[in-house]
């Protein structure tokens, strides 16, 4: 087979499976999970009536109903705004969120028919920067949406959105530097490989969370702030300014919502890669389970591979649900408190983290 054709086939398959398959499915399921999860701890039942031929499946079909509704709803473009930008905005956000998924490795490379296939769409040597760069595309989406709507509330949302996301981008970036210093790479497979090692005679996995605990504590809230979810949902601020997307209807509004959920998935994947060992599971080596000198079970290669991919997916889902939990527990920040937290409290800590890490790495590493 023509190698070029082969490569493009593999790439297309990866895009199909990882980008469209995995993310879209997880993101849409998250809309359902959010409703159900919130229902559970608010002592409700949650959506469960939508049925197909009498089957309800715990309200899963509500997702389909939402989809159909959004597709067939009138698409309204404000005549007093800027139509082109207005149409463009939701797609920018969606695009940025989806594309950043391309460099996330889902599992160790696998050999199929003599071909080594990496479990990521593209293995960039600047993967980390790539994600940060495309993750911040969301800012444009918010700003353009708010501006093109020519509505004061939307403008407020856009203003809040841009200041919030830029502020937290700084914290996000700074907290990552610690990880880069420790692992010595910005290439995601290398970061994961570094985390495959153990400390204390193989008892504690060398995960980012143990190597850089402070960085994780800064990174996670900053990343939630990037996704604009409660408690950081000031650009939306439902009860104050309705949100930057208030002039959007139907499908485009749906895209904003979907984009938000995709960002959650991306963020969860990113957290898992950087701080929770990526596809590494504790005490699972290439040969099988090895717990120091205590336990040794040999497993076939394909089982190990599968466990790793599933483990990684499980980590992603765990962090998605964690974010939903946070969203339904906390009240919203005030706008200036949010900025204060970002600039005055989190950023100095991030700088401190870099400083300490750098010294430690210099003397030890």
């Amino acid at each position: 087979m023509n190698p070029l054709l082969q490569h493009s086939l593999i790439a297309t398959a990866k895009i199909g499976v990882i980008l469209l398959g995995f993310i879209m499915i997880v993101a849409t399921l998250l809309t359902w999970a959010e409703r159900k999860q919130s229902a559970v701890f608010q002592h409700r039942i949650g959506a469960n009536r939508a049925d197909i031929f009498g089957f309800r499946v715990l309200g899963l079909f509500n997702i389909i109903a939402d989809g159909i509704k959004s597709f067939t709803k009138e698409d309204w473009v404000p005549p007093f705004g800027s139509p082109i930008l207005h149409n463009l905005a939701p797609f920018i956000g969606l695009f940025g969120a989806m594309v950043s998924f391309a460099v996330i490795p889902f599992g160790p490379p696998i050999e199929i028919m003599g071909q080594t296939i990496t479990m990521q769409v593209v293995d960039l040597n600047i993967g980390l920067l790539y994600i940060v760069a495309f993750g911040s595309m969301g800012v444009y989406s918010v700003v353009i949406a708010g501006w093109a709507s020519n509505n004061k509330y939307a403008l407020f949302g856009a203003l809040r959105g841009i200041s919030q996301m830029i502020s937290y981008e700084v914290v996000l970036g700074l907290s990552l530097i610690g990880v880069i210093l420790v692992t010595g790479s910005v290439r995601l497979p290398e970061i994961i490989a570094w985390q495959g090692d153990y400390w204390l005679n193989g008892w504690i996995p060398r995960w980012g969370i143990f190597a850089q605990p402070l960085a994780f504590l800064l990174f996670f809230p900053a990343a939630i702030a990037e996704t604009k979810r409660t408690p950081f949902d000031v650009p939306e601020g439902e009860s104050e300014i309705i949100g930057y997307n208030l002039e959007y209807s139907g499908l485009k509004f749906g895209l904003f919502l979907l984009g938000e959920f995709i960002e959650i998935v991306v963020l969860s994947a990113f957290v898992s890669v950087l701080f929770f060992g990526g596809w590494h599971l504790p005490w699972l080596t290439d040969e099988g389970i090895r717990m120091g000198t205590l336990l040794a079970i040999d497993l076939p290669e394909i089982v190990v591979w599968l466990m790793r991919v599933l483990g990684f997916s499980a980590k992603i889902i765990f962090f998605c649900l964690l974010q939903l939990q946070i969203r339904w527990t906390l009240p919203r920040f005030r706008f200036d408190h949010l900025l204060r937290l970002g600039w005055k409290e989190m950023m100095p800590l991030a700088l401190l983290n870099i400083f300490v890490t750098a010294i430690v790495v210099y003397y030890i590493g």
Binding site: R35, R44, N48, A50, A65, D66, I68, K69, D75
Partner: protein, 157 residues
């Protein structure tokens, strides 16, 4: 096979109508235009005990563009009527209006100089929910009736 009165509609269109109707009825984003006492029962209907979310109507959107159903909850007086009309005008198709409570249906106990005697003088209404204020179960019944109406109507895309 029975042929309904008048035209025989093409199979595809009717099926499509059914599917769209199904989608629309289980995905109701409501705009709660809450003014008065009925708002208390609206809260109850939307909260844990009666949980309107079960019917897919749990997400209130405070932007008229994004909402499908305008829930007019509570008395509308002469001063509020233009605002109601404006919100209705801002909503995107398809849209439905629910008159929630006696005041919106007919003015309720307030037959006086200030109160509009039924919001149908201002906006077209699809479902009237009586009661002063209606019991949450009545509200849910009204919601189910609205869903039936959405299911069986002709849908334009």
């Amino acid at each position: 096979m029975e042929v309904s009165q008048g035209m025989v509609e093409p199979f595809v269109t009717t099926k499509l109508d059914k599917i769209i109707g199904w989608g629309r009825k289980y995905s109701i984003f409501s705009y709660p235009f809450v003014t008065a006492c009925c708002g208390m029962e609206y809260m109850s209907a939307a909260c844990s005990r009666y949980d309107m979310d079960r019917f897919g109507a749990g997400l209130p959107r405070f932007s008229p563009r994004q909402s499908d159903v305008l829930l007019v909850v509570g008395t509308i007086n002469q001063k509020m009527a233009p605002v109601l009309r404006q919100v209705y005008d801002q909503m995107c198709e398809p849209r439905w209006v629910v008159a929630f409570g006696a005041c919106t249906v007919s003015g309720g106990p307030y037959n006086n100089y200030a109160v509009v005697q039924g919001i149908d003088q201002v906006v077209p209404v699809d479902i009237y929910i009586p009661g002063c204020p209606p019991h949450p179960e009545t509200v849910l019944d009204g919601l189910i009736k609205l869903q039936a109406k959405i299911q069986h109507q002709k849908h334009e895309v």
